[in-house]
Structures are given as structure tokens and as C-alpha cells.
């Protein structure tokens, strides 16, 4: 079945620093979505990428979809304590169901 690998599993970041989480799929994706889950919460939709090579920005967050539509990344600049949580990528292959990566759990030290 479709697998989406996500690394790193954990990211401990100094406040103000940048970090990136990466997702790779074994198969070509039709689109990829990113979610954020705060501690004790549930996945909250951040963004969807559909086009090959697409780049989208949300304030300090930059999302990229690879040219081959098999990989994606989320880059956060100037990390803040509000960025704490687990970031999931979830890919789709032409249907409705989402295949989630394992998530990157981010902690921030002030």
C-alpha cells in the first residue's frame, strides 16, 4: 500500500531557529496535506499542495511539493513557542483517503 515516510520523528529547536520536516512517498501523490496537532489536541488542517513544484507560504511556514509529487517539506523560520506540536503530512493518490506520515513532534526551548 501507499506509504508516506516522515522525518525527523522529533525536532527540538531553540526559539528563533529554523527547522524543516520532510515527507517522502513511495508512489506519486495527487496532492498532499499538512496538519498540526497541538499536545492533547487533534489534527488541524494547515494547507494542501496539488501542483508539481508548488510552494505555499503561511507567515513563517513554507510548504513545498516536489516536482515528481513524491515528496514534500515544511520549513518553519524563527521558531516560536506557539509552534510546539506534531506536524503531519498526509498524501492522497487520486482518492479521498489520507495516508499519514508518522509526524514530527516539535519542542521549543526558550
Amino acid at each position: 500500500g501507499q506509504q508516506v515516510m516522515q522525518i525527523p520523528q522529533y525536532q527540538h529547536v531553540q526559539e528563533g531557529e529554523d527547522f524543516t520536516t520532510y515527507c517522502n512517498s513511495s508512489t506519486t501523490l495527487s496532492n498532499i496535506q499538512w496538519y498540526k496537532q497541538r499536545p492533547g489536541g487533534h489534527p488541524v488542517f494547515l494547507i494542501q499542495l496539488v501542483k508539481s513544484g508548488e510552494v505555499k507560504k503561511q507567515k513563517r511556514l513554507t510548504f513545498q511539493f516536489g516536482e515528481a509529487k513524491k515528496n514534500s517539506s515544511l520549513h518553519i523560520t524563527a521558531t516560536q513557542t506557539t509552534d510546539v506540536g506534531t506536524y503531519f503530512c498526509a498524501g492522497r493518490r487520486g482518492d479521498y483517503k489520507l495516508s499519514f506520515g508518522a509526524g514530527t513532534t516539535v519542542t521549543v526551548r526558550a
Partner: protein, 117 residues
């Protein structure tokens, strides 16, 4: 607008018992999904309803799991009999549909944390 709601938020049962989880999607959303996250692993798809019909149940682990969506509104997921490995967080999500297949946003509920002892 109310989001996806799930009940109960937590459930602790013994092996062999039955548990029924409920999901109320966002009003007007035809698509309803069940996902599960077992401790330390990724969130996995269980099944997908379009209105009252099961569109895809390829992720259902075995026949101890039964999902229904009578009337195309809320959905239930019954586990009978529960086993230890069924422990985890069960998420429900809904989406509006009516767009190019597989591009609409799925909104997740808070989840039900199931513990089987």
C-alpha cells in the same frame, strides 16, 4: 459553525467487551472518515462514507469493527469484542465533497481515546 464532534472522549473497557464510538460530522458534509492512531504509530485510514454508503472500507482491521452511518448524518464505530491491540485514538473527519475527487479538506474531530485492558 460547529466542528466535528466525537463521543466519548475517553473509553476504558476490558478485553472482550463492546464499545461504540460516535461521530457527528460538520453539518452538510457528505463525506465522513474514520482514522485510528495506535500508540507510537501513524494515523491510519479505516473507512470512508459518502452519505450513508461505505465508499472505501479497505482500512478496517477485521470483522470485529463495524461502522454505520444510517441516514447519512452521524456515524458509529463499534468494536466487538475489543482486543488489547484496539487501544488507540480514533479520529473522525468530515469533508464537504462535491469538488474534484480527493482535493477537499478533511476536518478532524477531537478523537476518542480507547483503552482496552
Amino acid at each position: 459553525e460547529a466542528g466535528v464532534t466525537q463521543f466519548p472522549s475517553h473509553s476504558v473497557i476490558e478485553k472482550g467487551q463492546t464499545v461504540t464510538l460516535r461521530c457527528d460530522p460538520i453539518s452538510g458534509h457528505d463525506n465522513l472518515y474514520w482514522y485510528r492512531r495506535v500508540m507510537g504509530k501513524e494515523i491510519k485510514f479505516l473507512l470512508h462514507f459518502v452519505k450513508e454508503s461505505k465508499q472505501d472500507e479497505s482500512g478496517m482491521p477485521n470483522n470485529r469493527f463495524l461502522a454505520e452511518r444510517t441516514g447519512g448524518t452521524y456515524s458509529t464505530l463499534k468494536v466487538q469484542p475489543a482486543e488489547l491491540e484496539d487501544s488507540g485514538v480514533y479520529f473522525c473527519a468530515s469533508s464537504l465533497g462535491g469538488v474534484v475527487q480527493g482535493t477537499d479538506t478533511q476536518y478532524f474531530g477531537p478523537g476518542t481515546r480507547l483503552t482496552v485492558l
